[in-house]
Symmetry: C2
Subunit: 222 residues, 2 copies
DNA sequence: CTCCGAAATTGCAACGGATGAAATTAGTTG
DNA sequence: CAACTAATTTCATCCGTTGCAATTTCGGAG
């Protein structure tokens, strides 16, 4: 034993990738709703039933590397540096989640644009994404709490994660809705994070204090 | 004409309510997945097909008054008082959405506890709720932008809504997950809003400035 | 009251996604 | 090669959802 990965697992890995690739490709070409599982399975040379031994449902094939990405983010959270402020740690976590490289790197990079388009435009996939993000936020809140033992209240940890993620997500969404290119979307997300950091108060004209932009700049090169 | 609502519409309203009531009741009694549309329809004395002329799908019957609530919140947003800070307006909007009374008041009050339990525990319903909330946030961001013409950037408006809603939602969720009763959940949501107002910075020990709690108190009696 | 047109309801058929169980195939091990 | 195990397939079935045609029900005009 221990000779190698074994033909069995290699084959499984191969069909898994084929399944992902053909599925996303078909979704992109002829639409999500217009693509049946039978088609995908046929194109990947497996039976329809087999699809469900690789993915829990039609939607899940699009989120093939989500679990790994989240685990990466959680690991960063666990490695909080002593004395590090909540805000900084969260920025490092966000950066890690974005730059993440799993075992499916090539696949992820290859399908990234199509995947984004699909998630944004197909209601079912958007719904699934929101649901996943929701669960992730719970995990992140838990991890944040563990990263600051005794220093943070559970409710505060949850609120922090909620404000952080919520602001970034919604800001990016607004940007996307008005047709901004990807780099402007990232800028919007950073602005969202900034607002979460300094609070909604900072938006009110009476005491509109211009926050230092150091933070946003640091974030990009982190 | 103009004599009354007409028998036709009365009947429609009646079956609509029956449908909602029996559906939620059955979901609660025997579980969401274990309840078929055929059962619901039979219990409400209509054909299965008719269900779909009242609701778009099985999940939607649970969110029967969402649209009305959202419209109420948007109306409050449109009635921004001159000079009113963003933070205050958002608090008024939140209060309005919660205290909202539609034409289905009785129904809503009667089913409120069951509905909350269902949405929290059934994945399909939780997903639908998140999706609805997402769409609502877009509308709120739009409305907020219109309420402060020329004073607010679209991205900032989105971020504000995202941080506000995200913090409140997640804080309440944490509270719920540890078994808090409803009144403590509301307190958690208020704490979440507070954190969104004053920013995540306020959580960091170095310069942990205790924010005045006036705002949270004002919110409850607004 | 009667009849007509519109609107709501129904029954029917079909499709796609999802699941369970038994049968079959293919890889691994001795 | 032979037995053992895991993966795949086949088959049957359930449920949500949709389109379409037939039918019932209500409202109003004469």
């Amino acid at each position: 034993m221990a000779g190698g990965p074994g033909l069995r697992e290699l084959k499984k890995l191969r069909t898994r990738r084929t399944l992902i690739e053909t599925a996303v490709c078909l979704f992109e070409r002829q639409g999500y709703d217009e693509t049946t599982l039978a088609e995908i399975a046929a194109a990947a040379d497996v039976s329809t039933r087999t699809f469900f031994s690789y993915f829990a449902g039609k939607e899940d094939v699009v989120f093939f590397d989500t679990r790994a990405r989240v685990d990466g983010a959680l690991a960063v959270m666990a490695g909080r540096r002593p004395g590090e402020p909540v805000a900084e740690l969260l920025m490092r976590v966000a950066a890690a989640a974005l730059r993440f490289d799993s075992e499916d790197v090539e696949l992820a990079r290859e399908l990234a644009p199509a995947r984004t388009r699909l998630i944004m435009s197909v209601p079912a996939l958007r719904g699934r994404a929101l649901h996943l993000l929701f669960d992730v936020q719970r995990e992140l809140a838990d991890a944040l709490l563990r990263a600051y033992p005794g220093e943070l209240d559970p409710v505060e940890a949850g609120a922090a994660i909620g404000a952080f993620v919520g602001a970034a997500k919604q800001a990016a969404m607004v940007s996307r809705d008005r047709g901004d290119p990807p780099d402007l979307m990232w800028a919007a997300a950073r602005r969202g994070v900034e607002i979460a950091m300094y609070g909604l108060r900072s938006l009110d004209p009476p005491h509109r204090e211009e926050p230092s932009t150091d933070f946003a700049n640091n974030a990009t090169k982190a």
